[in-house]
Amino acid sequence: MILVWLIAVPCIGALLAGISPRGRELRCRGVTIAAFAINLALTLALWIMHPAVLRLAGGGAWFAEFDRAWIPSLGIRFHLALDGLSLVLIALTNFLGLMAAAASWRDITEKVRFFHVNLLWMAAAVIGVFLAVDLFLFYSFWELMLVPLYFLIGIWGHEQRLYAAFKFFIFTQASSLLMLLSLLGLYFIHGRATGVYTFDYGALMGTALSPGTGMWLMLGFFVAFVIKLAAVPLHNWLPDAHTQAPTAGSVILAGLVLKVGAYGLIRFAVPLFPAASAQFAPVAMGMGVASILYGAILAFAQTDIKRLVAYTSVSHMGFVLLGVYAGSTVALQGAVMVMLAHGISTSALFILVGALSERIGTREMGRMGGLWAAAPRMSGSLLVFALASLGLPGFGNFVGEFLVLLGVFRMSAPLAAVAAVSLITAAIYSLWMFQRACHGPNSEGWVIPDLSGIEAAIMAGMISVTVWLGIYPGAVLNVTREALESLRPDITSAVSSKR
């Protein structure tokens, strides 16, 4: 039942925020923050209690389950289940939701109620995606994410918001269609073979597929997820959407939407089609390395600071793609660490960059400089997250990237060595960004207020979590271990068990 609550709390919050009287914006903000806080507390309680593992059909290491019939005639069930992987991602969702709501305190002043409704709606849908183990239910939540995000970008975004929102919508919608086709294909093939028509994840897991069919169905899922993950060459929606979205929207996009894509790969694309995935792994890993380096070079080229941060996401998510397809548990654990650490560090960068450009009225780095003296706390936070994003040990990002590359090295040493070049390229863009904003002469004579109380609290929270992930990643690795070991895309054993 707690799983239903995890989705219901933001929904109730959205309802309350929506009906809060006009002009009482404080109440609306309060409700949103309360909803996220309650949900975060629920998640952390689950995390700390670390419930015993349930064994469900189809394997896995689940902590909790909720299963009711929904559309029985088509074999569709309202089936939710939570394992370590979902747990940490839901914790991230609620944490970032809280941060996004707090960051919007001063940022969003128009259509406040509708904004918060969208924020909570988005969170509910994302949590649903992380919990659903019925593929139809999963697809429903997946589509539910699209609308609030479209509104968030299109209504509260920057100067080119409509272009960005439209581009985002078309990319995701096209990819969802591919996923729907694959999903139905799998449903019918499984139904015809066994006589049981079901969308249940556990049941569909062992479906026997001919290599050709398996590859096509896998590709449908893969494209859908990889577009959300924004891997090169399917990343082009990302820079526009991230740059044009309001701060909270960028936080949601970078922190959650990209993670949803990665989650889809880990949960569905690889385990449902192990043989096809094994065959496809070299291509996927190639895309991962390409994303890492191509994104880093593009990030360095940008003059718009927000766009720079957006491209760094392409680079970092390349590590996730690499980790998912490297075929070892260590790499997969690394991928999950990157997901969490990137979610926090990049969101924090978006909040900082948003706060900065709101104060000086431009995102052009050419007009910044010397802001350390004016805003030391803001600059210090920017420094911390720039360092985290260049993979400095002591921050969570390093742990993730290191584990991924360690896993990749075992499979292909040259590929890992090429990916390790990103240590240099990441240093280049991160330091460039930080120094462009905070070092050098303050040639335009900016005098800006430093971080406000709320902003300072947000940064304190986010810095603590990143450092905590960096020096004691055990908290995450221990709770996700069993889930990831059972989901392990162990490509060699998967191939042999199929034959």
């Binding site: 070079i297 940008q302 003296a373 030391p376 584990l403 590359l405 075992r410 070049v421 120094q435």
Partner: protein, 629 residues
Amino acid sequence: MLSLLWLIPLLPLAGFLSIVLGGGRMRGSMVALIAVGVVGLSAAMAAAVAIRFIYLPPAGNSFTQTLWTWIPATGFMPEISLRLDALSLVMVTVITFVAFLILLYSAEFMGGDEGYARFFAWMDLFVASMLVLVLADNFLLLYLGWEGVGMCSFLLIGFWYRDSANARAARKAFIVTRIGDAAFVVALFLIFTHLGTLTIQEAAARASREWPVGSGLAVAAAALMLAAAVGKSAQLPLQTWLPDAMAGPTPVSALIHAATMVTAGVYLIARANAFFTLAPFVQWLVAVIGAVTLLLAAFAALVQCDIKRVLAYSTMSQVGYMFLALGVGAWSAAIFHFMVHAFFKSLLFLGAGAVIMALHEEHDIFAMGGLRRALPGTFWAFLIGAASLAALPVVTAGFYSKDLILLCDWTSKSGSVWLWAAGLAGAFLTAMYAFRLVFIVFFGELRTKPGRKPGFRMGAALAVLAFFSLSAGFIQIPPDIVNFSPLSELLETSLPRLSAVSVGTQTEALLQAVAGLAGLAGIFFAWFFFRHPALVERLVLTPLGSAFRRLWLEGWCFDRAYDALFVRPYIRLAEINKDDCIDLLNRTLARACESMHYLLIGTQNGRVRQYAAAVTLGAIVIIALMVLL
């Protein structure tokens, strides 16, 4: 006592945290008290640990303390654990002690700077990272310290951030060393994948057991670590960042870019000596890189005009000596020179800092001169430092450490007369540029009237360092003088002995005499050129002379080459692709849809005549198709 080992790096870290969290509200004197105090406590702890370690050695001559499992991943469990053995003991003692003196000096030197608290916060963080680096029991934790010191170096080079040149120097230092760091990471992957552990001792033992000498894996691992060391220690070909790093405040140059961080590469190679022993070719490369760097840097130091740049090139050159020692297997000799160098080079930097402060931020040595009378304390300190650097025989510490390296080059089984000759030529050049500095800055006529003189805290630091620059050599005296070598006896509990061909006492004495003479000759030439400036001028005005002068002034023009080969192409590549050529495809698709849209809209124009014409045309086409097909 040993179980309190973790406090040694933790104390400076705590200092950093308390300054960062409370620095805005603290008074300057409070900040200095905390920052200097924690490092002082750390040094005291280190001293206590050292005494305990030397008089009551733990079992196996090492002590390991595991704090927690850092990354509990599947099949990969690096720990946060510290290891104290003779090597780390020497490093820790020298680092905390020198850092304490430099921080004490800084408390006065940095007085009145707007970033006073920021300076001390980062210095403390640096000390903590450096201690983690040398105390780490596994390569991953070592890498944490390694990157931590790099980050602090970046922050402190760019400390006076308002000047874009300083910011550029900071960035350059970090990025250039990161090239080595990337190699280091790959080395870690390789070691873990093939040896199954990152614990240094365990990995070294397994490598020695499982890898034959000269095997591909051993060569690769050693070469990658060499790349890392070369970056951090500013050796060829990644040396270009060090001269620019002098943009930081002088105490930073003393601590980070002379005494401690730049020797991290030396420490790494000494620590991982097993891998280098397994890869004789790479070890030979270490020696060659050291020899070439020490010569190139010494030539560059001869012509610099900025007092700190002379010292920067000198550091590069002296670290080259350490590499030369490592390359012939004289592990303890390298660490001995590290220790002595830490004393005399920080003394030189701090002396230079006192001069720079007295002359109101003047760095040009030709604007100095005649300061012997005006700043007598500084003069003596600097003179002692320079004498030690020039390896003035018998009385200075530098003589003993450099002499040992030269001797090892000669006697080591992997040594050669060429390496020895390079070291000897370097000794001559070193003495020459060191005393060129002394003569130009402190002798002759007074050019600029000095202002603020060093006070008690700066003076104390200079005095203590001067004392050690003279006396630190006495813990390792060559056997032909007095047989007294406690340092190498201590170090040989954790580092292999040099496998040397034995030479007679006479040869040894002869080699010492030659080395001593080389230094004296250098001092003589420095004096000669100082007394005959016209001669220097004529030399510089010859075409060859001016060409070399320019070449050396720019540090052999590496910067220019790298700029053309790597920096500008990368920037150009980024600029060309700023708008992301892949997006072009999407935009083209979108534009095609749009133009199609307008094309079709154009047909719907409400003109009946055109509609009729279209219908007729369509009918004709269809009929034609039916008839033809």
